[in-house]
């Protein structure tokens, strides 16, 4: 009987052809199933609210979105601090990915909040401290995207983006505290209310379940967006190399041509 020389001879992992992998596909399927169940809980199973009626079903969407916006915005500042400290491309890529996701979820916060506000408050928008602070956060994150796209070499872009990224977390804190520091039309802390018995069990379960599904979706999006940001950096480096090679070839051609 002969034994193979390499009993655990694994085939090399194929090079990725996108931002997906086996792990993200599994996470994506679990997330989709969670979204289907979460939507059923929010739109069918949970009862209407005494005061808000069926408009409460928008909160099962709005609260997870706000949570994701806060998490990604906080990560922008954490990644920026880490970049300024470690000068590592990994943290710059993390800040880039989280910055865009924070902007997407902050915009969705404003949209879903406005749609919820119309049947509940009678208006889409008021210059309330919480709403104004959220709009300021969205504008800051938009400015952060603009700074990331300014021309310059990679370390300079990363450094100035990290400096702007430091401003994001104070804005998140201001946004979160706006309902307690100032008199606000917006309701107070929603998540902690789920721990109190005055909320119907089915409503609390639907909210907590949708928060959990939101975190799964956020993780899936973050992995894909992080890998995309990494590919963007690599593509920039390839373009720069190609441009330098082209210029060198042109210079060599000029030198090779006889004068006159």
């Amino acid at each position: 009987m002969t034994t193979p020389q390499h009993p655990v001879d694994r085939a090399p992992t194929p090079d990725p052809t996108g931002t997906g992998s086996k792990g993200t596909r599994i996470l994506g399927i679990v997330t989709l199933l969670g979204i289907a169940l979460g939507a059923t809980l929010a739109l069918r199973t949970s009862p209407p609210d005494e005061n808000m009626g069926n408009a409460v079903r928008l909160l099962y969407l709005h609260v997870p979105i706000v949570t994701l916006a806060y998490i990604f915005a906080t990560l922008v500042t954490v990644a920026s601090v880490m970049y300024l400290w470690k000068k590592s491309a990994w943290w710059d890529v993390t800040a880039a990915a989280c910055g865009e996701l924070a902007l997407v979820f902050t915009c969705l916060t404003l949209v879903t909040g406005a749609i919820w506000g119309r049947p509940t408050w009678g208006t889409f928008w008021v210059w309330d401290p919480r709403l104004t602070a959220t709009a300021m956060l969205a504008l800051l994150l938009l400015g952060y995207q603009a700074v990331r796209r300014l021309p310059g070499d990679q370390p300079s872009r990363a450094r100035r983006s990290a400096v702007v990224g430091l401003l994001v977390l104070p804005n998140v804190f201001l946004d979160n505290r706006a309902v307690t520091w100032w008199r606000s039309l917006h309701q107070g802390t929603t998540i902690l209310e789920t721990l109190q018995p005055k909320i119907h069990d089915q409503m609390a379960f639907a909210l907590v379940f949708n928060m959990f599904v939101g975190l799964l979706m956020g993780a899936w999006l973050l992995v894909h967006r992080w890998r995309l940001a990494w590919l963007e950096q690599q593509a920039d480096a390839v373009e720069l190399d190609e441009a330098i090679t082209a210029r060198r070839a042109e210079a060599a051609q000029v030198r090779a041509e006889p004068a006159g």
């Binding site: 090079d15 990725p16 052809t17 996108g18 931002t19 997906g20 939507a39 739109l43 808000m52 009626g53 069926n54 408009a55 079903r57 928008l58 969407l61 709005h62 979105i65 997407v104 969705l108 949209v111 879903t112 749609i115 919820w116 119309r118 049947p119 979706m217 999006l221 894909h224 967006r225 992080w226 890998r227 995309l228 990494w230 590919l231 963007e232 690599q234 593509a235 480096a237 390839v238």
Partner: protein, 44 residues
């Protein structure tokens, strides 16, 4: 508009936005992968 109209509007806009954004991220990732040499595509 009834409350249910606002509910469907909010859920519809959010779903459409997130589906569109996810599709853009995946499509751009595939497009950039073709431009980046295989050895530079590894992120870990």
């Amino acid at each position: 508009m009834s409350n249910w109209s606002y509910v469907w509007l909010g859920w519809g806009i959010t779903t459409a936005s997130l589906v569109a954004y996810s599709a853009w991220v995946i499509a751009r990732g595939r497009a950039l992968s073709r431009r980046v040499p295989p050895q530079d595509r590894r992120w870990m």
